[in-house]
Symmetry: C2
Amino acid sequence: MSDVFSALGDPTRLAVVERLARGPASVSDLSAPFDMAGPSFLKHLRVLEAAHIVTSEKSGRVRTVQLSPEALGWVERWLTEHRRGWEHRLDTLGQFLEQGNN
Amino acid sequence: MSDVFSALGDPTRLAVVERLARGPASVSDLSAPFDMAGPSFLKHLRVLEAAHIVTSEKSGRVRTVQLSPEALGWVERWLTEHRRGWEHRLDTLGQFLEQGNN
């Protein structure tokens, strides 16, 4: 899970993921907004692929990248799991404060 | 937001956040499970503080660390925002497939 967060912990890669949340895109379309050499951009894509956040497919000369369906699910499950403990603590605090007021 | 993900993108820091999701802890309790020199552990805590994921307070000789209430909220909002587009695409695909079946 820290690999997933680490992969998202870079402004370029995060922007790529945000773009892909709107739909698949070719590598050249994806790289267009970034003032970055091709090989540097491909390195970022490889980090996202290694963390299983994106998958890509080559058809002819065009490589299309898409968000892995599991990717956001992992982050969501991690959050749900740890939010439960966090909210439970806030609930307990709320009950404590309520009892103090009655 | 990439700073938040980057701060979570390290196994030690992620474990600290997971521990703090169960409640505040002293620095010495937090560091106990890690086979790491004190200064190295404090560096990790400083990264989490700089990303506003945790806050800490010193009382006497004990520094207590807790999860910032906003921390998981940020991750959650980012997810909600980008999941919407993602789910919308899945819905559109679902509708398309359903229409194909009718």
